[in-house]
Symmetry: C2
Subunit: 724 residues, 2 copies
Amino acid sequence: MTGNQLQQGETDRLSQILEAESIAVVGASKEPSKRGHQTLVDLESSGYDGEIYPVNPKYDTQIRGHEVYPSVEAIPDKVDLAFVATPAHIVPSVLEDCGAAGVAGAVVIAAGFSEVGEDGLEERVLETARNHGVRLVGPNIQGIANFHTGMNLLGGYDLPKGNLALLSQSGNVALEFGSHAAGLPEVGFSVNVGIGNETDLQFHEYLPYLDQAAHTDAIVLYVDGMSDGRRFLREARKRVADTPIVAVKGGVTEAGQKSAASHTGSLAGEGAVVDAAYRQAGVVRAERSDEAVQIANALGKLPAARGENVAILTDGGGNATLGADAIVDAGLELPELTRETRERLRELVPDAPNLSNPVDIMGLQGEGDLSIFYECAKTIVSDPNVDSLLLTGAFGAYETYGPGDDTSDQEPDVARDIASLTEAYDVPIAVHCIYGTQGSPALTAFEEAGVPTYGSIDTAVSSLEKLVEYGTHLTSSDQKSTFRHDRSTGGRHSENVLQRKGEETGTLSEFHSRRLLADSGIGSVQFELATTPGEAIDLASAFDGPVAMKVSSPDIVHKTDAGVVALNVEGDDDVKAAYDRLVTSANAYDPNADVEGVLVTPMVEEGTEFIVGVVDDDEVGPTLMFGVGGVFVEVLDDVAFRALPVTEYDAECLLDEIDGQSFLDGARGTPGVDRDALVDLLLRISDLVEQYPEISELDLNPVFAYEDGTAIVDASITLRDTEE
Amino acid sequence: MTGNQLQQGETDRLSQILEAESIAVVGASKEPSKRGHQTLVDLESSGYDGEIYPVNPKYDTQIRGHEVYPSVEAIPDKVDLAFVATPAHIVPSVLEDCGAAGVAGAVVIAAGFSEVGEDGLEERVLETARNHGVRLVGPNIQGIANFHTGMNLLGGYDLPKGNLALLSQSGNVALEFGSHAAGLPEVGFSVNVGIGNETDLQFHEYLPYLDQAAHTDAIVLYVDGMSDGRRFLREARKRVADTPIVAVKGGVTEAGQKSAASHTGSLAGEGAVVDAAYRQAGVVRAERSDEAVQIANALGKLPAARGENVAILTDGGGNATLGADAIVDAGLELPELTRETRERLRELVPDAPNLSNPVDIMGLQGEGDLSIFYECAKTIVSDPNVDSLLLTGAFGAYETYGPGDDTSDQEPDVARDIASLTEAYDVPIAVHCIYGTQGSPALTAFEEAGVPTYGSIDTAVSSLEKLVEYGTHLTSSDQKSTFRHDRSTGGRHSENVLQRKGEETGTLSEFHSRRLLADSGIGSVQFELATTPGEAIDLASAFDGPVAMKVSSPDIVHKTDAGVVALNVEGDDDVKAAYDRLVTSANAYDPNADVEGVLVTPMVEEGTEFIVGVVDDDEVGPTLMFGVGGVFVEVLDDVAFRALPVTEYDAECLLDEIDGQSFLDGARGTPGVDRDALVDLLLRISDLVEQYPEISELDLNPVFAYEDGTAIVDASITLRDTEE
């Protein structure tokens, strides 16, 4: 089979699980308080019209009108899915039974596996599932559900039906998202899948299925920590153009990471790294869990924004002001409207308080004809300066909450007219209504017509911000997948260097780090290793001017702390004295250190200091880091990340993302640095890590950048523990 | 009358307005769509039981059963309040009428004043009100309401009744806050006052009344821009201990400021300055408008937090993880629990997934007895390491949304038991429930018993964060009001210096800036003014070592740009050459500049560079700034603010608040700087501005700080335009 066929096979398998036409409930019970009973109640009350087969060797009669079978294998008909409500230690034998019956998947809700240190049991469960051809959902989950088929396996809870798919490592968070959606008209879920410990089925495996599934406009994730974040990011990148993905990431702080580990046994990556990797793959992160559902709703319903220019239309000055503040805080722009737009608005609402952006037509709805909102909105979205529109204020609440009861029921019609503008002008519109948390027929009309509504102006603006981020990803996604070099032809020139790592540190000496770099064409500074004072004198005299001398040892990583660095050394006597002093210091610092000799390099001209590094993130894997270096490292902590490998676009983003742009552009009259050379260095480091996957960490700090070119001043490469 | 008597008089006047027992509705109308009719409907339907007098010279009959009077003066009985629904240009004559009738206050809703450039009309309205002894609420407002007396003057809208007072410069935002409260049990408003343009009654004037009013536990503000922010901050500082104040600030960005100006004609201050001034006065800022009501509810109901240690109790791992992340992101701590606490929890819930903090008892509620939540909560809040508790997860939702229907109605009782812990242990408790947006009897029980509930874990944590900030203010408020020096005895030694400001710039030359500082004992560096090359030579030789020479001119502010600075000058020839060159440069840079001469100072040793400044904020007034100086100013933009005058505590906060603590503590083995000397400098600058209120700006950049002492390297003082 080809890879595509294999994937299609797995996608079909997931259809069989998530659109199961027959379910065995293993551990079925007559006891109403038991999950094995509740599940039968739930399937009935949710209107599931597939076949239901209770399984329990202890019962020989019926439960709730269904015949009970002693085993899954004893069921005479085909079974798509087994719902396993038994205790953890029974699960392996249940999976054997499922395998014998040809069941596609088993949903295991029990906790008590790796998250509490029972790794052996979890491994046994996985092995049994694999050996018997059963895919495993869970364990340690609330359950799963398909709200369009009525397959509710959530244990007495329910979520509103709609077009968002929900994958969650927390049952509580999934229920909360359901509760958030319940307060909004026309927002709900297609499926809800508990991800749990990712023992078998992992996050990324659901994406191809969901991308082609009916009823799924966008995907919402709650992630404690992914066991294979790299594969998820690769898969997500392929899918987000058709099916946007919104992720809430738990464990972005150390305290959160500890909590996640005790919950699903997950290793959460560094918050900043995961955030950057999501952005790189086009996955939208909801920083606040209370905004996730509304952001996903917006991404599922609206076109992506073409750019960052937001116009505000309002009937209240306070909303205009808070909206303008929120838009600017989100890094978006409030553009000037064109003269034509302003003139047209002046004709429409001659007495409006404000016709620049924000457009404030306060008081003008008093005339009673709410269609003025449509006329103004249409005028604004047809302005070429406008990429999206925030409608904020009382519109949507006039007829339901306003004065009088003799108004016509005009508001929902106007809402539908306004909603039609998103398609006609390809401009996303978000509606914040001051009664948005309470709902109205007009707000329902908006949502039905594909325009999201909000009771919070902050969340409305967050949604627009994410539509801009998503739009930027879509327009740049080609550049995020085209690599400068052919990834397959990377040669390995330095096999022998890789043997030289320190036993304790796993680190190569600076000499061998530089050799590995040089063999891949990285680094312009000459370097040589002297193993005697005489060699050092010869090498130093071969370079122009003074030299830098550093002890080269895989065991001494912090060279300055160890006192094994000498700068600006010149003259044979000084070189010899420095050599002796450095080696003495090294021996004093660590008598057991393997001292290869003393690295001799020419002193290089001072440049603007940057740091280039590779870190091995628990979730994202090898990740490139770029930032402001030297003394500023500690003060600024100004670094950006991209998952490896990176494209030229990614490398440019790394430069663009640091706060200290003045270091790149040149401050106080100094010239800017050679951005192309930095981008080239980043790409070469990316290639290096592709060629040598055993590199787990790399640290070039500082890299001097000049008006022309760069120089690596210090280099350290750490290799992966081979036992891993 | 004493000041206190005067204030009591004004407080009584505000009682008369906000608890009016009789209201004249000026501009009363028979037309249902008119505000002068709607108001009569609103008063009836809100159950107002005071007297209602419609006023309209055009009607001689009754409206809705009330006799109509041709003028307010024609009403035979005492009238407390006039509600004025007439167009803007009629308002002055209505106010004359109100004055003649002895009315305490008039609520003017009409727009069309300073916010649209009609300053003349607004001034005339104010003058009329003052001349006739009528206090003015508005203009340009939605209205006002007292929900406990049924006095609804909001034009067909309503807000839920409760214990929060609401002062708003936006009618829409006030209604939105009402809508946010409507979704919460036991949350609502005592009064709602439209602040509008602050033509007469300003924000600060309501605080003494609200502080003593019944039914007000906390105050919520929406602020576009205060016309007298200084008085508000002074008044707020006196009130917040009894009545917490939560402010939503509009106009914290440039775009928002422009919008605010077109809305209420307000000048909004700099976001960072206003934020710092609120914090200094103990006013809690809600950064997101969608959190304001819930934060105010928490501050009104709960005790302040003693410290920043938060414990989490949950029944779901995802909630634990998101809660831990949010707590750390908010700058709070998740402390270790004591061994005793952990042992006691282990007895209570032996199989809990996690008994460190977060405490996760997932699955244990399955036994059916929810009182385990109370037992665990009690154990946790009695831990001396715990200052507040976040209960997060499904508690509050078990009986309403969970499986089965045979549970007892135990949850509200357990909620009341948990709520009782806040008082018993003086520890605030916030409850996040995954169904918190939808409500339940248990959540209502919490709110009734004084514990706020949340549908968003982010907002729950924001509320705890603000309870910590508020608690910190309360414990430090003494230190915020004790000044080192007696404010009344500041002498003015430099009257003549004040005459020397530049005509265009308003700025004093460096020489005169330094004289003003020196006369107040500020600055240790010697300085002299040379007006000839010969004087420069004499002065330079009188100092030890090389000197710095700078042209001193009130017209040349950017001395480096103008090329009128020479450093490290030594020797008579070099001093003479420098003098001539600098004066030539000054004349070339600005031929009309008043060049006083050349300032000569000894070169001072380089130190860690800081900036000390005074800015004149549109809302807060004179504000002290402290931050990282020198080359870091542009890169870091790391400054902190405090409204002047500052106490020693405030000055220490300025040092504590900058991000670049490593500059103060010393980085990379360098010694830390003399914090006491910096605090002393800040206090002296504060005193200087008290003594010379004509100082509008002051800029000491850089100030060198040493292990011992400081040196001012450059100084510039700008005076207020005297025509202001």
